[in-house]
């Protein structure tokens, strides 16, 4: 068994932007349907679907729920870089989702085009009951068409 899973190939991705995606323009209907789905069976808040009401709100128009995903339904699935290689049942190929933490900034609105880029910001190992565990901390930053930050999401992926 290897004494580390942190390969040169993983290190070379540290602080390098990868998996860049640009969303199609967000539509009012995308937001309305998202809100219906996550509040189902309750009527979602008006700020997500009633343009007239939303105009009088502090946002001056419809905004998307913080967790809205403008990258759903791509025409072509984009291959993403899988740090640590393929997933399998052998040591180092097994994965755990270590959770995520999002910081929110400017809300998403109809017409917005969101750009996403991901960086490996930290990698470290611990040895525990399951042997070596490698923690990959990836940060995904979303910005809108005006260059304003929308969201920064830190995800922890574990390999063991």
């Amino acid at each position: 068994m290897a004494d580390t899973y942190i390969t040169e190939d993983i290190r070379k991705w540290l602080d390098v932007e990868r998996d860049v995606m640009v969303s199609p323009p967000i539509s009012e209907s995308d937001i309305r349907k998202w809100a219906i789905a996550v509040y189902w069976p309750e009527t979602p808040p008006k700020k997500y679907w009633d343009a007239e009401y939303a105009r009088t709100s502090r946002w001056g128009g419809i905004v998307a729920p913080e967790e809205f995903n403008p990258f759903a339904w791509p025409i072509e699935r984009q291959e993403t870089v899988r740090l640590g290689g393929d997933i399998g049942k052998e040591p180092g190929k097994r994965v755990l989702n270590g959770g995520s933490e999002a910081h929110y900034y400017t809300p998403m609105r109809p017409g917005d085009v969101i750009r996403s880029g991901t960086k490996l910001v930290e990698v470290y190992e611990k040895t525990g009951r399951l042997g070596i565990m490698m923690f990959l901390i990836n940060e995904t930053t979303w910005t809108n068409q005006n260059g304003e930050a929308v969201k920064v999401d830190r995800k922890t992926n574990i390999r063991y």
Binding site: V38, P45, E66, W73, G99
Partner: protein, 145 residues
């Protein structure tokens, strides 16, 4: 919501916030799959889920993440903002589970003119299991500004 603003001064460390509850099944999961393009066999096909060793299909972690957001939004109303939210998935969400999103205030402070509260947040099932522990920070209006 909106009119009945909640204020930062009204809360103290240790306070519980209003819960958000859902009994979930395919009606919730299929709608969520439709908007998030999350059509995965383990969420949709019981035969497939059983072939992987699970007792049945189970719900999307992302939907529980949305329920945590719903809980915070229902509580803070339109004058407040969710600044940060993170969680981990510890247990699965099976059909007919009654999920209750809960939150408890752990810190109260001012930073750069913002009136902030930190919270422990989590999603409990009907057995009292914490399926999804997390933390969040919200910004509330102050009575002084």
């Amino acid at each position: 919501m909106g009119d009945a603003a909640v204020y930062w001064e009204d809360y103290e460390i240790g306070d519980d916030i209003p819960t958000f509850e859902r009994k979930t099944d395919m009606m919730h999961w299929n709608r969520y799959a439709a908007v998030n393009d999350e059509f995965v066999y383990i969420h949709m096909d019981a035969d497939y889920a059983k072939s992987t060793g699970q007792p049945d299909v189970f719900g999307m972690g992302n939907l529980r993440l949305a329920y945590l957001h719903n809980m915070l939004r229902n509580w803070i109303g339109e004058a407040g903002d969710i600044k940060r939210l993170g969680c981990q998935y510890r247990a699965l969400n099976f059909r007919e589970d009654v999920l209750t999103a809960r939150g408890r205030i752990t810190n109260k402070y001012e930073e750069d003119g913002n009136h902030l509260l930190d919270l422990d947040i989590w999603v409990e099932n009907q057995k009292g299991e914490n399926t999804c522990p997390g933390t969040a920070t919200v910004c509330l209006p102050s009575r002084q500004t």
